[in-house]
Structures are given as structure tokens and as C-alpha cells.
Symmetry: C2
Subunit: 454 residues, 2 copies
């Protein structure tokens, strides 16, 4: 395969100048979030205790594009533009006529796509005079991205880390501390929300969110920062898809199918929204697949309803597919995908039939990840391993159809901190959990009283 290009690389000047706001092109009207008390549409003022007004304006903006502040583009230069790879070796391993490309976000210092929004949020908060950001983290990807971003813009950073991850992933905690953050094991004793959940000693993302939100709501110089789900978070991630569009053009190809994993939706939205906008505007025929864990099947088994973003019920009610805010998914290694809800924007696209969700079991995703690592060398995080599973399905379908379909994969992070899971998989000892139907029924029965969604 001499002289074939493996990577498509952009220069710093090619870092996008604007973010893509898909809200402006979304088919139909997006239902608004609701105030958790009044159940009336939540306005900018309702969010002001937690977020700076500039981010709130991004959250509700009708503009199709929003300019990226220059200090944020400067920070992006530390690791962006990220490369687009042609997966020649994986194609050979799969004996497929498909052309497989992957956009790799694992080269950022925290090792994932998360800093794309972390630096934007840290900048806007610092500009607004905020001194500290509070947040939650599951496996630690988001917490380390925010720790890194706060360091760049001179903010303090306080992280509530889900108890089970805190115990199992001490390296992620050390990484956050190396960048200067303070890390609490959640549930903690320093918040009311944490103390109220003492009996759930291994914690959950929903509990950790409640703790971080409580601290931000009570301290005027502290704001809250969320790593996914919200419109402005997905907005910031669209640098991924814009670069990928330019790089696919360099490769002279159009993707027939774009695949990414979905937890809260920021990786998925970041890669797909620039492509989806073309589909919506120009009627391009691109397929979009959202890969999620069978242990936490929000898009494939959830209901479309208003629900809280956290466990305790402090956040606005969001219109989304949800398993119920009380749902506690079984412990899979893809901690970033263990969330009861999903981005309202991504959910609206699934409802509109523009995005196809698929759910995978843990062992089949690790099987796919090991095949990827043994051909393409990068060891993927457990989250994008779900998307890789879908890529292998699509590449196999292309072989069966005898068609050179073009597949674009979002490879949002490396698995260097997840090698104990690979160890378990290789030893044949990796668990393969599914959720309990009884737990799901109970969680859905606990949905808040709110207007039904069309």
C-alpha cells in the first residue's frame, strides 16, 4: 500500500472560525426545557445561577453559526486540528471493499474530545469574572478535560467523581490533580445532595451532577460546567465535524454512513452536526448511526418525555429519550455512556428519523476494539468501541453487498486508562451485563409530572 495516504492533516489556520448551531436547521420546533418547579419554559434567567450569560445565549441561540472567540481558538491549537485517518489495515483485516475513515480526538492532552467544550466553557466563565467551576465526572474524561481547561484560563476547578470510578481509576484522579483540580469522591459529605445519597456508596453520574450543581447554585463566584447533553456543549464540539468535512474533501470522498457513540451526545453531535446540516439543507443521502450500550439503552429503549438531568431533581426538565432519572445502569466500563438521558438535539434527530440508534453488549464492543487495536494500533476507549462495533457491521454489510461504501467513524478517545477492562476481556472474564426490566419499569414510573411530548 505504498504511497497511499494514511492521515489527512490540517494546519492551525484551518481550525474552524465558527461553531455550527444545528438548532437553526432542526426540522420542526424543539420543545423548550421546563423550570423544575413551575413546569413553565425555562428562560435564560433560570439558568443564570449556574452558567454565564454568554453560554446561556449560545444555549438558546437561533443563529446557524457562532464565532469562536480567539483565545479559545488559541487553546485549540495545543492539540487541534486533529487527524483524519484512513483505516487501511482495518479494511484489510475485515476483507471489505468499504473505505473506512476515522477522526481521532484522543491526541488531546486529556485523551478525548472533551476539551473542545471545556476550553470554551472555561474561557466564557473566566471572562464573566467567575473564579471557580464545579462539575461531575464518571470515568474521569470530562473532569480531566475541565481541570486542564481551568488551568489554561486561571480558574479553580472542583470535581465530584462517581465513587466507583474514584476507587477504580486513581490515575484519572491524579491527572486532574496534576492539573491543579480538587477531586471529591461522590457521594461526598460536603454537599446536602451527597449526604442525602449516602446509601448509594458507589455513586452515579446523576448524584455527582446534583452535588456539583448544588455547590455552584450556592456560591456566587462558582459556576457549574456540564460536559455533554446541553446545546452549547454540542455546539462547541462541532469543530470535530467541520474539520472532518474538510478532511474527507482532501481524501476526495463522501461518507455514506457516519458513526459515533452516544452517552450524553456531545461526541456524536460534534462529529455529525456539520454533516447533518448538509443532509437537512441539501437532502444529501447520508446515514447516521448512534451506538449506545445495551446496559444503558437510552435511545433504543427509553421513552421520549420531559425528565430531570440529575438524580435529585435540581436541573430543568429536558425533552429527551430517558430511562428515568432514577435509573442506575449496571456497571459497564464505558462510563461515559452510562447516562439515563441524552442530548435533546440528538433525541429530536432520532425522533425525526435522521439518526438510527443501535445498542451493543459490552463483550462485542471489546471484541471490536481489540480488532481495531491490532490493525490500526490505537487502543480505543470503551465508549467509541461501541461505534467501532457498528463500523464492523457496516463494513461487513458492504462486503456482502460488494459495494465500496464510505464509512466515517468518530474515534473520540484512547483507552490508556481502561486497560484493566481489556485485561478482563482478554482473560475471558469481562462481564456482559444487561439492565433489569424491572428497574427500568420502576425508573420510568418515577418520571416527573410534566406535559407530554408530541
Amino acid at each position: 500500500m505504498t504511497d497511499q495516504r494514511v492521515k489527512f492533516v490540517l494546519e492551525e489556520q484551518d481550525i474552524p472560525t465558527h461553531w455550527v448551531n444545528l438548532m437553526a436547521d432542526l426540522p420542526g420546533d424543539a420543545p423548550p426545557p421546563l423550570h423544575p418547579g413551575t413546569k413553565e419554559p425555562a428562560g435564560p434567567d433560570d439558568l443564570a445561577p449556574l452558567f454565564p450569560m454568554s453560554l446561556i445565549m449560545q444555549e438558546v441561540s437561533p443563529e446557524p453559526e457562532i464565532e469562536i472567540p480567539e483565545p479559545v481558538r488559541e487553546a485549540y491549537k495545543l492539540w487541534r486540528p486533529t487527524p483524519l485517518h484512513r483505516a487501511w489495515r482495518l479494511e484489510r483485516e475485515l476483507d471489505t471493499p468499504a473505505h473506512i475513515y476515522y477522526k481521532y480526538e484522543g491526541g488531546s492532552p486529556p485523551g478525548s474530545h472533551k476539551p473542545n467544550t471545556a476550553v470554551a466553557q472555561a474561557f466564557e466563565n473566566a471572562s464573566a469574572g467567575i473564579k471557580k467551576l464545579s462539575t461531575e465526572t464518571g470515568a474521569g474524561q470530562w473532569g480531566s478535560a475541565l481541570a486542564f481547561a481551568c488551568r489554561l484560563f486561571g480558574l479553580e476547578c472542583e470535581v465530584w467523581m462517581v465513587g466507583s470510578s474514584y476507587d477504580q481509576k486513581p490515575y484519572r484522579r491524579s491527572m486532574m490533580e496534576t492539573w491543579g483540580a480538587t477531586v471529591h469522591r461522590s457521594p461526598s459529605e460536603v454537599t446536602e445532595a451527597g449526604r442525602s445519597q449516602r446509601e448509594h456508596s458507589t455513586g452515579s453520574l446523576g448524584i455527582a451532577i446534583s452535588e456539583a450543581v448544588e455547590v455552584a447554585a450556592q456560591n456566587p463566584d462558582t459556576n457549574y460546567s456540564l460536559g455533554s447533553v446541553l446545546n452549547h456543549v454540542l455546539l462547541h464540539q462541532t469543530v470535530i465535524g467541520q474539520e472532518a468535512l474538510a478532511q474527507m474533501a482532501m481524501a476526495g470522498e463522501e461518507p455514506d454512513v457516519v458513526i459515533a457513540c452516544v452517552g450524553g451526545g456531545s461526541n456524536f453531535g460534534g462529529l455529525t452536526f456539520p454533516f447533518l446540516r448538509r443532509v437537512i439543507r441539501d437532502g444529501a443521502r447520508t446515514k447516521f448511526i448512534a451506538a449506545e450500550p445495551a446496559a444503558c439503552p437510552t435511545l433504543t429503549r427509553g421513552v421520549y418525555a420531559y425528565d430531570f438531568g440529575d438524580t435529585v431533581g435540581l436541573t430543568p426538565l429536558m425533552p429527551m429519550f430517558t430511562l428515568g432519572h432514577g435509573f442506575v445502569p449496571p456497571p459497564v466500563h464505558a462510563g461515559g455512556l452510562r447516562y439515563h438521558g441524552d442530548s435533546p438535539l440528538v433525541c429530536a434527530l432520532v425522533r425525526a428519523g435522521l439518526v438510527e440508534p443501535r445498542a451493543y453488549r459490552q463483550n462485542e464492543t471489546f471484541e471490536a476494539a481489540v480488532r481495531f487495536a491490532r490493525s490500526e494500533a490505537i487502543i480505543p476507549a470503551p465508549e467509541p468501541a461501541h461505534a467501532i462495533r457498528a463500523v464492523i457491521e457496516e463494513a461487513t454489510a458492504a462486503r456482502e453487498a460488494g459495494e465500496p461504501r464510505v464509512i466515517l467513524l468518530g474515534l473520540c478517545g484512547h483507552g490508556n486508562f481502561d486497560l484493566s477492562a481489556y485485561d478482563a476481556y482478554l482473560a475471558g472474564k469481562l462481564e456482559d451485563p444487561v439492565f433489569s426490566e424491572q428497574d427500568l419499569d420502576a425508573a420510568l414510573a418515577g418520571l416527573p409530572d410534566a406535559p407530554a411530548l408530541a
Copy 2:
């Protein structure tokens, strides 16, 4: 700092086409390695049980440049060219007029510069019909690079991992196994050398080398692979320095000082040799600093003499600075720098006064690494932390002199697998060992009987 470039990025076509063989330009005659039995100069045939003839010819080649085989350049494309960064944020943090650049090799899948030679060695062995490579690894950087390279070229890989690292760094073992390698804890029971060293239960690099060499010597379809020290290994690493030369030209600057850490010398040689060749040929005035641990101060406290490369005494005698092949350095986290000897080429340059060695204590290197991580975001491995310490000294000297000196740092790997050491440092619990003078005297008394070096 709007519009200032942070990274200087090359295209795949700019990956060097040749390696730089500094042997051809070395001042004076290089003393030959000696056969461990006869003490006569070792010829190519003496190395044939361990290495393919193509690598042996590279080891002894007088040619100034050696062409890189096309399949190796193709493999390089998976992660090369690597970026050169301008450390704007570190310069500001240090309040220095110095311009600091770093060449970052941590973006390779194994996370260090090691695959530059691993893929070259795997290719040459596969071309020679070899089925398996055996090797040793300390902290795991080299073993994981070779596991990855063997996978690319269809070879089996068997690794002896120093016992203490095997116990402390299970993630590095999992990484090697994910790429399909077999990993033994050294000393192991599967070799004579291992069984003879049972009492040293935590192992050492020298013992692990003995085990890997023994297996290769006894099996005709198995060869041995070394990750540093030898001429051909340093040769392969010169892609680093050649890219850095081109990137410094893109930046429009000439380095006044080039700094890298030294364990066996492959990272140091890889970065510096293309620059050193200019100094030797054109009399350019560039300073070169080799940073090593005070706990294993080979270049600053060793003697220049013939010594074995391994503990048991199976390898040829190499002309080098050595602490004695029986020297066991205290356990510092920079496992890649815990070696009693050093590359004969690098040692000859130190002898010739072209390279200045400096030794640093563990805590001062971690202090430097944390400053780097908090300004430049990348968390460095403990090995290049030694070089960062020297960079900070040079940047401080530039401030005191009021001169905008240009400093080039070799940042050879990330510290994602070394976060427990950062944890200890941040908690004030990191040990700061020095070696015992008594142990050094004893080890030097055990040097083999061999001709003295001029």
C-alpha cells in the same frame, strides 16, 4: 498571543527517506565491541544468532545515510510526522526571553519514541523469515512499542518485563497483551538466566536482557530486539531530529541548545544526531545537554570502559560509560533511565566534549514536570522530566543573561502510565533516592578484564 503558531506540522510526504548514521561523522575512531569470550573485536557473524544480517550491516555501516525501507515509512505514517510545539505558555510561566520548542513523540500509539526503531526492527526480522522477537522491558515503553510493531509485521512477540514494573504497572502489560504479545515477569522460571537470578525477585533490566537474549540464541526462528544502546537503534531514531530540523526551519529559528534525557541513548541520539552532524561538519555552535537521573548517573559518575550490556554477561563488551554491569540503581520512576551503561555513540560524543551530561534528583524532575503540565497541558513521562528540568535551568539562565536563547527539548513520551508517581509527588511522598557509593565501588570492581580505552 493571537495568531502565533503553536505547532509546526509536516505532511506524510515529509517523513524522512533516510536515517542519519552519525558513525560516519564521529570524531576519531570508535572502539569496536568485543566478543565476550575472546575479547577480540566482534564481527557481524558474532551477532548473527541474535539479529538479522540487514540490521547487523546497519550496526557497522560507514555510510552517512541509510535509506528507510518503504514498508517502514508506511508504518511511520500511523503517527508520524510528529509535531514540534512552541512552548509559549511555559515561556510565560518562566518569565523568560528564551524561545522554547519541544518535539513531541508521545502521540504514537505506545506513547513514546520507541516505535521508531521497533517498526524498523520488526520489518527487517520479518523480511529475514524470523517468526518471533524476544525482548526485555523496564517500565514497559519498549515492550509495548515492540508488541505493536510485531503486530504490524505479523511476528510473535515475547517480552520479559522487570519484576517490579510487572507488579506496579499492570496497564503496560495489558497494553502489550492487547497487541498480542506474551509477557513474562522477570526473573522468570522459563530461562536459565532467570532461574539463576531467583534471589533478585524484583528483577532488573540487565537480568531481563539476559533472559530475552538466551531465548533468542537458542531458537533459530527467534531473534532478539533491543530498544536502545546499539548503533542501529539510534540510527532509526534519527527521524525525530530530521523532522525537528525541518520544523525549526519552518519556525525560522536555530536552536542554541538541544536537550534530551539519556537512558540507553536512543531518544537523545534520535533528536540530536542530525543537529550534531551539522556541528561536526560545519562548526555550528550548538550546545547539547544529556539529562540523566542522579540515582543512575552513568555519564556523570561512570567510568569509560568495556563492559557487558546485560547482568549475566551474555552480550558483547561495549565501549561506554558504565556504572558496572552489576550495578542495581535505586528504584526511581524513570525506569527507562535505569541502565548501568549507555550508547557507545553517545558516550564517544561526551568524551569528545560535544555533549554535556547533567544529573538530576527525582523530586526536582517532577517539580519541573508539573510546571510543564500546568502550562503546556501534556503530562510528561518521568524520563523526559529530567530534560525539562534542564530546560528550566537554561531558560532561567537566559533570563538572567537577558538573552532570547532558543532551546529545543525532546519530549519523548507522555506520563499517562506514571500518574501514581505524580500522585506521590503532589502528596509530598515521592522518594528522592541517590545511589550508594559503596554499591558503585563494588560494581566498578566487577568490570570485566578487557583492554583499556583511550
